[in-house]
């Protein structure tokens, strides 16, 4: 089942799933999918299926963690036990704890935290199915869920990875490319501010390759940004139609 494919890129320059180097996987975004959450988003990117929910601003819990001058953003990235090939224990792994931290830090610059002192905002991310690039899809979904919750933001945050597969720099790595490929560079961006809010990398890249991977990821982010805004608009145009 987990056989390594021989070639990740064929003679025509197409990837395992027939994509070109700079092509994104199909993306579907839905806003307002959970009725109990203040904001919620469902995203599919390739075989990734992820739910993000936002609660708050609400009373900070635990209370002593509240800050007098701003709200506290809390974030939990969590993978369902059935989201990967071999069952993942539901207890938070070290990877999930690290990802929760970097995702939170990628969202924080976008929020006017100082508008809601002494409160807390919770972002919960549940990965229902993982297919490589879950942290990026999670950020795209979580930022949109924050907007759906009506939290004032400087810009949406959108994320996408680029990496190196065989000898090419490619966009939006899927699971196999991520595992067998040479490098993975996830990037989160606030497109209107041209601000990178998440940047990680593993693998080996020359400085020039690294730069082109970051730039390719930024281009990918900008494409997803359009879909993100479209999804948000869709929710409210639909709501309007119902009212009428």
């Amino acid at each position: 089942m987990n056989q390594k494919p021989e070639k990740l890129i064929d003679k025509k320059g197409l990837r395992l799933d027939g994509r070109k180097a700079d092509e994104l996987r199909p993306i579907k975004i839905e806003v307002g999918v959970l009725s109990n959450a203040d904001g919620s988003v469902y995203i599919e990117q390739g075989k990734n299926k992820i739910l993000a929910a936002v609660f708050g601003p609400r009373e900070m819990h635990p209370k002593h963690m509240a800050l007098a001058d701003r709200t506290v953003l809390k974030c939990r990235y969590h993978m369902a036990p059935f989201s990967v090939q071999e069952r993942k224990s539901p207890a938070p792994s070290r990877r999930e704890i690290e990802l929760s931290k970097v995702i939170r830090e990628s969202l924080e610059p976008s929020i006017f935290l100082e508008y809601y002192p002494r409160t807390g905002i919770d972002v919960f991310i549940e990965v229902l199915q993982a297919d490589g690039g879950t942290r990026c899809a999670s950020i795209t979904a979580a930022a949109l869920a924050l907007a759906d919750a009506g939290i004032p933001m400087r810009d949406l945050v959108v994320a996408c990875a680029a990496g190196k597969v065989e000898d090419s720099v490619v966009l939006d790595l899927m699971d196999t490319e991520d595992k067998v490929g040479k490098a993975d560079v996830p990037v989160a961006l606030m497109p209107n501010l041209n601000a990178i809010t998440l940047l990680q990398m593993d693998g080996v890249l020359t400085v020039d390759e690294f730069e082109s991977a970051v730039n390719l990821a930024i281009d990918g982010c900008k494409k997803i940004y359009t879909m993100q805004k479209e999804a948000l608009r869709n929710k409210y145009t639909e709501a309007k139609e119902v009212e009428e």
């Binding site: 704890i97 931290k101 990178i196 693998g203 400085v207």
Partner: protein
């Protein structure tokens, strides 16, 4: 890590940096003095202590026999853990590793793993059954900023100092024999951390600079000047231009340190 810094000091640091100066009189891209000592814990298979200015990190390596991961049956296992022990700072509390120590351990791990610093194929005893497991335990003794670079340096120094036990296989049982061999090492990654303060990049932030920084960026560089790991941290952001600037400067700084340490 809760931290408090007065507004006056914050302003002072920011204004100095705008003028290209720092409170401790370093240039914006200068490291603090690096002191390195190896083999100071006799019970450990390898150890090293690094002083980066007043930041002090001790790394101990234990090598044990264990099972390989199913997807890499012929390779040894690397495990990195970091402890922010309460003696190192008034802001560190006892208890299980928090997100800061987990992030620190994973950044150090990524630098070593992705650069293939250890030749893990030489750590296999019996394919699929027994391999050497290398435990890297990062112990922060004094926190004065830039734990990432200090820990990465100390971990590499300790690995370079590590001796594996010799062994024989007798009736399918592994028997440890006398003597030892150095841990097979291929590469020497060096991690360079930047802080962004007032839209300027500085290298090797110390504690007070970390307390006022908007964001930080760590970049690991291998022996061929390739990038093998990066991590952005903190509540702020970087422009794409700053990321490129940091990547190029990291290569320069890593080479400087490599020369100094003769790695």
């Amino acid at each position: 890590m809760a931290s408090v810094i007065t507004r006056v000091k914050q302003k002072q640091i920011e204004q100095l940096i705008a003028k290209g100066k720092r409170l401790d009189e370093r240039g914006l891209t200068d490291y603090r003095e690096i002191k390195l000592e190896q083999g100071i814990i006799e019970r450990a298979e390898g150890s090293a202590r690094v002083l980066l200015g007043k930041t002090e990190v001790l790394v101990g390596i234990k090598v044990e026999i264990g099972e390989p991961f199913p997807d890499t049956p012929n390779e040894g296992v690397l495990t990195v853990n970091a402890e922010l022990v309460p003696i190192a700072s008034s802001t560190f509390e006892p208890g299980p590793p928090d997100e800061n120590s987990i992030e620190l351990a994973r950044i150090v791990d990524r630098g070593i793993r992705e650069s293939k610093a250890i030749d893990t194929t030489k750590l296999c005893i019996e394919p699929g059954k027994k391999v050497f497991v290398v435990f890297v335990d990062v112990y922060v003794l004094n926190h004065d900023g830039n734990l990432i670079d200090a820990s990465a340096l100390a971990a590499m120094a300790a690995l370079l100092n590590t001796k594996m036990p010799n062994y024989e296989i007798e009736d399918g049982e592994v028997k440890i024999t006398s003597g030892n061999t150095p841990l097979p090492m291929n590469r020497h990654p060096i991690t360079v951390t930047f802080a962004k303060i007032n839209d300027k990049l500085i290298v090797d932030p110390w504690l007070e600079e970390e307390q006022v920084m908007d964001a930080r960026l760590s970049i690991a560089i291998d022996d061929d000047c390739n990038i093998c790991a990066t991590q952005k941290g903190g509540r702020g952001y970087f422009s794409p231009k700053q990321v490129s600037e940091a990547a190029r400067l990291a290569v320069e700084k890593a080479q400087e340190i490599r020369k100094k340490l003769d790695w």
